[in-house]
Symmetry: C2
Subunit: 439 residues, 2 copies
Amino acid sequence: MELDVEQVILTLVIIFALAKAASYVFARFGMPGLIGEIIIGIVIVNLTIGDFNLESWLGLSPVTEGGVESESPTHMILEMFSELGVIFLLFTVGLETKVKDLTAVGRTAFLVALLGVLVPFFVGYAYVTMVDSNIYHAMFMGAAMVATSVGITARVIKDLNLMDARESRIIIGAAVIDDILGMIVLAIVSGMAETGSLDLGNIVSIALVSVVFVVAIILVAAKLVPAFYKSVEERNEAKLRENPDYIRPRPNMFILSVIACLAFAYLAEIIGLAAIIGAFLAGMLFAEHAWEWKLEERFEAVTTLFVSFFFVYVGMNVDLQAFVDKPALIGTAVLVIIMACLTKFIGCGLGAKVSEPHMPGSSLSIIGVGMMPRGEVGIIIALIGLGITVNGASAVSADMYNIIVLMCIATTLIAPPILSKLFRKKYHTEYVVTPEDRL
Amino acid sequence: MELDVEQVILTLVIIFALAKAASYVFARFGMPGLIGEIIIGIVIVNLTIGDFNLESWLGLSPVTEGGVESESPTHMILEMFSELGVIFLLFTVGLETKVKDLTAVGRTAFLVALLGVLVPFFVGYAYVTMVDSNIYHAMFMGAAMVATSVGITARVIKDLNLMDARESRIIIGAAVIDDILGMIVLAIVSGMAETGSLDLGNIVSIALVSVVFVVAIILVAAKLVPAFYKSVEERNEAKLRENPDYIRPRPNMFILSVIACLAFAYLAEIIGLAAIIGAFLAGMLFAEHAWEWKLEERFEAVTTLFVSFFFVYVGMNVDLQAFVDKPALIGTAVLVIIMACLTKFIGCGLGAKVSEPHMPGSSLSIIGVGMMPRGEVGIIIALIGLGITVNGASAVSADMYNIIVLMCIATTLIAPPILSKLFRKKYHTEYVVTPEDRL
């Protein structure tokens, strides 16, 4: 199997153009552009007219060689672009988040995350135990309900230019903590499904490593980057005093920040967190000087290039055929979707209310809705369950998998328009159709 | 075969960091940074210490599945990044090239390209016919000598900030024409090797299509993009007169230019030209307004991200083992390298001298050296020859292939330091260690 460079360029440019055009149309009608991009993804995998299948024409269908089916090279490139898209998106969010912004909302963010994990987990668990006797099915449904994909909400916040709003800080902070808690839940659930028992030592060590990782980056490294830069500046000024013609060699902070972004994304993956959490934390390292180093505009360009592939890829996970084949699933799916929305909304709103009893309802709603989208995180959890066999049955059944995927996409589609409406009402901003959105 | 996202992120960040560090070190010692990047590529594929092989550790070695050997997914991603790197590099060169800049040097560029094709071809052809009785070997050696990879020279010119120099314009213009002529040569040579006869109709049609493609873009589309933009502006101003609060929707020219860049790169590939020629022409479409639309700084960021992968990938084609196994090849390789340098230098210098008899020697030298690097284009031609069998023998033998690859890399390594020295001498500029080069 070899890479067909021509085919990949064609596929990339077609998807990029379709996604941006759809984003433009949606933004024009006051809807978040990312929904248009997700719909393009749904269309790509589900559109078949006669013999013409868009997915296969774009070289994205699996290929078989030597009797082995594998992902097509073009699909691999798209998958990688999608991954880099959300990594760079969260890095730019990090760039606009200073450490003190996050610590200022720390307590509230923690409670939002905690209740936003507990309520959906137990409701999901309870629902499945009522209709199904398989305890692992129940646990995985709970775990999938817990996930929060901050990429979706981050894009809405960035499009509205409301990174500085207090609710935005709480959501972003809570999403980071949610990811750690979600990882612990996943460790417990998949550990029990695989071994049939609870390995407490393992769970404690996972929890410790991830907390140390996050706290270490925030507290220690946030001081290292500015210190490094300051030492370079000081050395330059000393040389300038000796020789007034000295040309200052300035480290290229864009290159350093790309390295940090990818390296931390990798480290986060290695210890079991999502890559985007690493990228977000890496962005925070550079937040104090992002403006001075022109990092924001440079990463804006890079993100504009990559990010639409992420949203298209999210849409490409929707297999409409499964629901055409089994219409009965639709009823269950609708119920699960409603539960997924309500449990996050109530859990997170409650968390915020407990921490700040005087917080107005408008803010509570924004936080509740902002935490709703499950995005790709829930899908990944369902995939893990699909791969674990307990007592001769998959820990996630095929039907459950399709329902979870639809729930993840549905929450991802439902939350952004409501969130942007709530934000606009509260902050009296128009939905900012930024140049990034206009085509 | 599935994509291992973690492995790819690790490989990308390691290669990126090594390449930028090497570039920094070379720039610091007054050498073009790209040489450091190429050397990193050579090291990656040739470094084996005991059982440790860097190429395989980075997931870049071929993988075997179901008895079929194929390119590894990580290698595919790297290859694609490399391709996009040189595409975006040439697009940024196009952004700094206005149509009138190119037409002003048209005659000279044409003669430089023409003699820069004829002299290397016939010298390469003559040399091989002297030592080898296979006429196809001779023709392919000639064709490989003809190639010019403008990416290498473009990077030197950009690093020196000398895009406006007359010599730079001539080199860029000649490189475009060289690519068309080179394609015609390749069509003749490979057509004769495959069919044993000369298909004149085919050659004329290839020549016509490529000339029409280039001229059409330059003349017609160069007027279309500004016209489109003007119409948007006029519509906005009309609306603004009606309603002073109207927020101007401005088309996002960055997105449009990414689409144009990739679409033209694809079209160029389809008609048989190099993708980079399409990208360069697409860049020219936006040149008049590049500054106003902030395209230069945005593509600068994108290019900084991708371009090092291209130079590393060029280096990864060098198989030092072939020369360890057959030391006798080294002598032939050295001879071919000397011929490759001299024939381009003399051919192109002569072309410039014929067109402009009063051009100073310093300019002739710059043009001659600037056209030397064969880069990946020569390697691609050798690969094509390797795949054609005539009378039971390959049109390019395995030894010839190794020699051609080494010649391409050597010219790519030799030209940049000389070119930058000549440029600096003539224009009294220091080698500009731009922030892009410093780490």
